[in-house]
Symmetry: C2
């Protein structure tokens, strides 16, 4: 067997997107696809109360993405993480309760015409007096981050910025807690609807406006006040309407960092879209915190790590050896 | 002349509503109308770039609201505050720069077939290093509040909760500063769009959920985190989906109060919709701050006070004495 022999189909299958990788025996990427066929597209015309129709829709989308790989290598193990494992997904893969290590011995299988697709469970903090929280998909990025980092031991804060940013605490490879901030969603709502959307023009990148927003977001007057402040700045001609989105981005990110960064932190790991990580790194640098930035592509590494730890590849090996 | 003789037409004319009062010589309310005909309705089919068409639309809406009063008492002075005095309104009445006392000697007149309607200017803090801010309409509520309160002297914080809540500092009758929090707008956006809207059911009043939200909003994890927390509470069955809006209301109001209440404050004046004032009073009470609640109806008193201070009624008196 060589490194170019396919060993695993790995999918990052979320609400609005689907990425698929064909991985070799050393975990290297042999082929990659970004189909954009997330849960919303997959189930667009499907009655979700009909389990057979739902399963057929997911199987069809899965085959469209990876059917040729399976045809070329029948019985190839397949693993997916993300919302495909939620109650609205192909099957509910459940959650592991935190504290939890980042291996997943009990993956949830869904059976299809050509074999089995394994689903990665999410992580969960149950609600008590405080609200709980869940993660789905990010656990795989975390597994990939630990695989990628040179020193995975000790204590680590991993920040995954996005629609719902996650701040994850990892101690000796075990997730001990996490917090969600709906910063990206607030940015989306405020730039799509309401008075700031009406005040803004089509966005133009403006680092100075972003920095100015960061400074405002670090003040103590609160998000609801500092976000609104973008409007008088535009009305007074101090901020260009097309720079309002970057100003607002600064306000929101600084507010998130102010609240969720622990005072003792000197270093965090950032994992997400490049431009977003750049913004968070800038907000962190202003507080004297260094950031190691990992690309979202570590999801493929995470899927590889989880598949290896769960023995998915050994099954395949055994089947190959004893036909 | 008796108290029942009309002396002033007073209008609170905002973006989405229009209320009109016929006031007697002592400022008492002789008649009141809530037409709902705000700026949006008034200018619905009007090309706002055409000044004549715009003026005709406003005049028509004004006559629909008060035409019979004017017919009965020709030449009756009329005064309006709110967005009718904005750039999108009948005419731009401008702003007084803070610090500013709450009398308005230079009202802006708009002339119509039956006479003159005077417009109240707003208040403005120009943007410098910090974002500035503007008030339009609330200056009239403030004037009404000072008229209503037994001890208008000294220092006073007046909170006007709403879509854009205003926290106003008044010292010896002079507005020395104010701050806006877009709390109501955030509540509207989060309950109309996005993940919390999808998690919530049709709202049912739930004071316990509101109190729980207040407690969450007082924590230091930030608005973007505590608002999101409503979702796991619902998913975990701890919060009913129809109670999510009241929980979120608690989170947002507590966050606003946490940021904008000065530590030294022991008493504030609340002015706004009754149910909203009740919520803010509860949030303030938890911090040991007492609130005096004034109804929104003080707008009529504010218009009366401004008209009196500007000598509008004397004009009328003179005209009556020298026909």
């Amino acid at each position: 067997m060589t490194d170019t022999e396919p060993a695993l189909i790995a999918l990052d299958w979320g609400t609005s997107g689907q990425r698929a990788w064909l991985l070799g025996r050393d975990g290297g990427i042999l082929d990659a696809r970004d189909t954009g066929r997330g849960l919303l597209t997959t189930t667009e015309d499907v009655d979700l109360r009909d389990p057979r129709a739902k399963a057929a829709a997911y199987e069809s989308a899965f085959r469209q993405a990876c059917g040729d790989w399976l045809t070329a290598c029948p019985g190839l193990p397949a693993l997916a993480s993300g919302m495909v494992g939620s109650a609205q997904g192909w099957a509910d893969s459940g959650y592991r309760t935190v504290p939890a290590p980042l291996d997943f011995p009990s993956l949830v299988p869904v059976f299809h015409r050509d074999g089995v697709l394994h689903l990665v469970p999410g992580l969960r903090i149950p609600s008590g007096d405080d609200p709980g929280d869940v993660i789905r998909g990010e656990e795989t990025q975390l597994a990939g981050a630990l695989e990628t980092l040179a020193h995975p031991g000790g204590s680590l804060t991993v920040v995954l910025p996005g629609t719902h940013s996650k701040w994850v605490r990892v101690e000796e490879g075990v997730v001990t807690g996490f917090t969600t901030a709906m910063t990206g969603e607030l940015y989306g709502l405020l730039t799509a609807h309401g008075i700031l959307a009406r005040t803004a023009a089509d966005p133009v990148a403006d680092d100075a406006a972003f920095s100015r927003g960061l400074a405002a977001g670090r003040r103590s007057r609160g998000l609801a006040t500092e976000a609104f402040g973008a409007r008088p700045l535009v009305l007074d001609g101090v901020l260009a309407p097309e720079s309002l989105p970057d100003y607002l981005s600064g306000v929101l990110i600084a507010d998130e960092v102010s609240h969720l960064l622990h005072a003792s932190e000197t270093h965090v790991v950032l994992c997400g879209a490049r431009e977003l990580c750049r913004r968070y790194a800038a907000a962190l640098a202003e507080r004297g915190v260094e950031a190691t930035v990992l690309s979202e592509e570590i999801t493929a590494r995470g899927l590889w790590r989880i598949a290896t730890a769960a023995g998915l590849l050994e099954d395949r090996l055994e089947r190959t050896l004893k036909p």
